[in-house]
Symmetry: C2
Subunit: 304 residues, 2 copies
């Protein structure tokens, strides 16, 4: 079968997990298969959203450590049913899908604009947060040009600047952020977007990132692209309707999607990163010796 | 309008084009608007392919300077009608869409497997080429971890290693490559793929890259994802049919898509790169001071 390989064998240069093995270096799937239950954490039901589309469920985990006020406000919007019946109003190729407030698209059905009852329309920006013990950080061995330090915080790709003492979430594929106007404090969560293309890292520290799509990303990324300016749809009937958005904790247990994500503060994760830096299975002829932050996979699976 | 900006104003630190202007730094669109006809080159009709899908035309430009034998062989395949009636057999989220040889997907209709008449089934790999005057190079001011030098060669993102004396095309969004088996020399062009997600740069120097989608990328990137292993489709009826592939030079002029691409060996391009490194319009609060190779836009427009 003539293919382009995504999963591959690898050499664990760090050797933490498999140092005792005399066998060939394991492939990433073997690293995951050899993981312990403690290498995983369940998605937090109090900070997980289910966005129900006609095509299926998009599962988003919020990161309140990085955007506490926005996470709280988005949950308040969700709990007053703000998003129910609204739509995905924009799909720009190799960039973002955006949903929520119809005011943001000239073509959207303005009769659907909703009053906000208990949540807030706008909030002060949360582009960065202070580095603290609340913000764990597993630094990658490699650097990039967008941040002095890059790595993962509780499963989320993030950057840090020890000089300024600030940390932030990075715009990798699947990152979810808060649309805003020119004023830094003009967003609040009524308009959200997910990255559907090559990581637009220039947005880092310029907009509040609130979390990440953990499952169902393809339901957003495969939407037809909008033909209007910046990928906005030009007719309401082109827009995918949002049936509802719910906080997982508010959904009966039987209807929840019970996912868990590979922890990023473990030896297993360190081995996984190395397996992505140097892929040495037969298919690969030249290992890269490097992995971009946004090419480190966030591993999500159904909880047993 | 609460949005995520893609186009933005910028500061031209290099100051080449607009140094005489006392006005605010121009936005990227203004750099393009101020460009001269000589800043552009038409797509080469002898090395441009039109892949006709039921949803529209995908325009691919081949880069024979980097993969001369594969480019020639793909044109031979096209001219014997090899791809006509075949299909897109794979769409893996955040990775690639792949088309051509049905043998590569267990679910594809094997009755459609085609004999090759004049072209070759396989060719020696062309992962890299010797650095030479045939391979122009505009080096970016920034570095990355995947290649000692990165930049653009005649509009194509590429890497170079002065030590080894080799150059290669990079796997940015839209790059088109040649599927292969474990054997480096097992590809030939019957199976092609385009990058539809975050740049899989670990594939660089591991597979023959032959060109880039210059228009119609969204027709591939918005395809429903295949639900089989590695995004292969599981049923023939899920696959988008390829009506035909033609070399542009073989198509009557009136039916051609006359695109031109911004040259990458000009002061205009240097200014454009800087406008992407530092976006300073009001919307941006923190310029990145950096741009990844695959975030430098390849500007394509209809020729007047």
């Amino acid at each position: 079968m003539r293919i382009v390989h995504k999963l591959s064998t690898c050499v664990l240069a760090f050797g933490v997990v498999f140092a005792v093995s005399a066998k060939a270096p394991p492939i990433m799937a073997d690293i995951i298969a050899a993981s312990k239950p403690s290498d995983w954490r369940p998605l937090d039901p109090q900070n997980t959203l289910y966005m129900e589309l006609p095509t299926g469920r998009v599962v988003i985990e919020l990161a309140p450590a990085f955007a506490p006020n926005h996470a709280q406000n988005i949950k308040a919007l969700v709990r007053e049913g703000y998003f129910d019946g609204l739509a995905v109003i924009r799909s720009q190729d190799n960039y973002v899908a955006q949903w929520g407030d119809p005011s943001d698209d000239e073509a959207a059905d303005k009769s659907k604009v909703k009053a906000i009852r208990t949540a807030k329309k706008t909030l002060p920006a949360e582009f960065t947060v202070a580095i603290s013990t609340q913000i764990p950080f597993t630094r990658l061995p490699d650097a990039d040009g967008y941040a002095p330090q890059i790595g993962f915080s509780n499963g989320f790709a993030s950057g840090r600047d020890p000089k300024s003492g600030r940390a932030w979430l990075c715009h990798c594929y699947g990152a979810v952020g808060v649309g805003r106007d020119n004023d830094a404090d003009s967003g609040g969560g009524t308009s959200l977007y997910a990255v559907t293309g090559h990581a637009p890292r220039h947005l880092d520290r310029n907009i509040t990132v609130v979390g990440r799509v953990m499952h169902g990303m393809e339901l957003l990324s495969s939407l037809p692209r909008g033909t209007g300016k910046m990928g906005f749809y030009e007719k309401p009937e082109q827009m995918m309707e949002i049936q509802s958005v719910r906080v997982a904790a508010d959904v009966p247990e039987a209807q929840r999607s019970n996912f868990e994500v590979l922890r990023t503060d473990t030896a297993t994760f360190t081995a996984l990163v190395e397996s992505r830096r140097n892929r040495r299975e037969e298919w690969y002829k030249v290992p890269a010796g490097y992995v971009e932050l946004c090419n480190v996979p966030v591993i999500v699976r159904k909880k047993e």
